[in-house]
Each structure stands twice: as C-alpha cells, then as structure tokens.
C-alpha cells in the first residue's frame, strides 16, 4: 500500500482518541493492517482487541455493504472517539463486491453517511486494477477531495450525492446498452 495511505492510517493508531476502520473485499482489510504493522514496526493486537481498530468487509449486495460500512462507524462514534479514520480499498467488477453501478452509488452515498459523523476517509484507487471508467466516475466524481502525488486538492469534478444518481448513474454507458469494458 502507498506510504501516503499508511501514514494516514498511522495517525489514527498513534492518537488514542482516534479510531480506524479498514474496509474492502474480504481479506483486504486484514492485509492492510499487516502492511501498516510492517510500516510502523510493531503489532497492535491490543488495539484490535479493544475494538479501536476495526475491519469491515465489502459485500456483493450494495445494501448489505452499506450496512457493513455504517455499523462500525456508528459503534465507534457511540464509544466517543474524537475522530474515526477509514480506508476503503476500491475494487471493480469482482466477486464479493457490488456491481460497478451499485458500487458508484455506494461511493457517492458515503459522503452523506459521514457528513454527520466525525469521520474522515481515504479511498485508494489502484490504477492498475481499476479501469478508466472506474477512475472517471468513481474516484473523480464521488470524492470532494483527491490526493494526487501526495497533494490533497479540492476536486472540481465532484458531483454532490443528491445530484449523482440523475447526473451520472442514470447515464452510465453500460446501463444504456454499451458494454462495461
């Protein structure tokens, strides 16, 4: 995982009043934590046992995925953490993950979900794994800020969630009869 992402996670581990959620395909969250342990040079078993560091799993049903995402955030909030950081590792058109159009809806919806919570998140888009359409419609249009070459920038391509369904999702080429590739 990129150092910028690991550094983002590390700050949550270093600050006792913060919590961390690693979210992705089954197994991805655990891998992310192992990368972080290697990056930091120590294990954080106690923090995991105490539930300050949590893992959430994606699901092929987008509604279930939304629940899998919201539930730990609400739990951490109820336990009084000043800030919850999450990292959501993106996948595209793979098993155990919602279909692309539903995943894009989820990405946009997350903005509404976290708006009322003390939550900040990072969604790494692997350019080697995610096709151009995933980058264009997901990374660029569902995130108010983008981290590019280590610099956090306001994203001019961002479409607010209340407009995203009509302005983007209903116009997705593969929902208009074109292929997904």
């Amino acid at each position: 995982m990129r150092p910028a992402v690991l550094e983002f996670m590390r700050e949550a581990v270093d600050r006792p009043n913060e919590a961390l959620l690693c979210f992705g395909e089954p197994g991805v969250g655990e891998r992310l934590l192992r990368d972080l342990e290697a990056h930091m040079g120590h294990e954080f078993t106690a923090d995991r046992r105490a539930g300050r560091i949590m893992v959430g799993e994606a699901h092929s049903d987008v509604d279930q995925q939304l629940e899998n995402f919201i539930a730990p955030l609400e739990e951490l909030r109820a336990r009084g953490f000043a800030l919850v950081r999450f990292v959501g590792v993106v996948a595209w058109d793979v098993r155990h993950f919602p279909p692309p159009e539903d995943f894009l809806w989820f990405e946009s919806k997350m903005n509404e979900v976290i708006a009322e919570l003390p939550v900040v998140g990072l969604c790494p888009y692997d350019l080697a794994r995610i096709p151009a359409r995933g980058i264009a419609y997901g990374a660029l249009e569902t995130h108010p800020f983008v981290l590019c070459d280590g610099v956090l920038r306001e994203n001019p391509q961002f479409i607010p969630p209340d407009r995203y369904v009509r302005e983007r999702l209903l116009r997705l080429p593969w929902l208009q009869g074109e292929g997904l590739s």
Partner: protein, 204 residues
C-alpha cells in the same frame, strides 16, 4: 408549447399532440384513463421504439433512432422534418419528450406520413394497480414496491426509505430485492435506470 405543458401536467416523459394541440397520448396515467378509451393506443417509449423498428422504411428507422437517443439520454432535443402523404391519415403529428430537469422538448413534426401501425404493431398498454400504464416487467410491481422504486430513483438508501415509509428496514430490503428481481435487473441502479428509461418513475 402544448406538448411541454402536457408533459409538465402529466409528469410524462413523452406526449403525443395532435395538430390542433390536443394531447392524444402520454406515457403516464393520463392516457390510460377510462374516459379516454377512444384514444388511439399508440405505443410509447420502448414500445413505440419496437413498433418503429418493425418497419423497413428508412424514415421510420430514423424516427426509431431518434426515440432511442432520447430514451438513452443521448439527446434532449431533435426534430425530424419530412412531408406526409396528404392522402393518408396520420396518427402522429407531433411527439414531444422531456428527459431530465431542464431538458428541451423533442418535436417530431408529421413523422408518420399517413402510415398507421397495424394492430400487431401496437403492444397492449397494461394498467398497473396504481393506474399508470405499465408494460412488461413494471406491471408486476405491487403498489408498495412502486413506492419503494420511486424512492430508490431519488437516490435514497434503505434506511432512508424505511424512515420515509415508516416501515422496517428489513421490509424495505425485501421490497428492494423484489423490485430488482421483477425488473430483471442485476443491481439496484440497473433497476432504477430501467424504470427511468421506461417512464415507470416520476421524472421530477
């Protein structure tokens, strides 16, 4: 703009307007009303598209392509001009369509040239329980599922739908799954896109 007005009033996606300005068809509830039983059962939307596709006439194909472009959201406005055969009756004198907020009207002036589709080219418009003319998959939805579909189309998640309809989350989840299955979609958003394309949810 009679057609535009009809669209606004009927919350329709497409309206058919006679040369004298009379609205003869919309793809929403208006045309399915019992009081309008004498109206021509002109198939609209995807049905209309299928009907035009049946013709080998290049003009009909051009119209079909134009309608398809509207349904796919590729264009919001176009016109087709041609001369109709003055000796033959025309069943369509203009068609207007609106897609998306602020979209322009679609006007096809005298498109048919006196050629009326035969009965076999007129798919039956089936009235759904809520009164709107639903065809194919859409007609199988229950009134509650249609309510849920409307809210899905507004981008609401299951929790928000449950709160809005004052029903249990798990009940909403069941409705959403039923909607997806009945519309033959693979996903939540594909179901919504299909509903929009076929005019099964309000455009507003």
């Amino acid at each position: 703009m009679v057609a535009r007005s009809a669209i606004d009033q009927q919350r329709a996606g497409i309206a058919v307007v006679d040369s004298d300005g009379t609205v003869t068809w919309t793809d929403e509830a208006w045309a399915a009303d019992d009081g309008e039983a004498s109206l021509p059962r002109v198939p609209i939307g995807a049905n209309l598209l299928e009907a035009y596709r049946e013709y080998s006439d290049p003009r009909a194909q051009a119209i079909a392509n134009a309608i398809a472009a509207v349904l796919e959201g590729k264009v919001t406005y176009f016109e087709i001009e041609h001369r109709s055969d003055p000796d033959s009756p025309s069943f369509l004198t203009s068609v207007a369509a609106l897609r998306g907020s602020g979209a322009g009207a679609v006007v096809i002036d005298k498109v048919v040239g006196g050629r009326e589709p035969s009965e076999r080219h007129r798919p039956t418009v089936v009235r759904a329980s809520g009164g709107a003319p639903f065809g194919h998959e859409g007609e199988r939805l229950t009134p509650r599922e249609r309510e849920v579909l409307d809210l899905m189309a507004m981008g609401l998640d299951n929790r928000a739908i449950a709160a809005k309809l004052r029903i249990e989350y798990t009940t909403v989840r069941g409705h959403v799954r039923a909607v997806i299955e009945k519309l033959g979609a693979r996903s939540r958003l594909e179901a919504v896109a299909r509903a929009y394309r076929n005019g099964w949810v309000p455009k507003g």
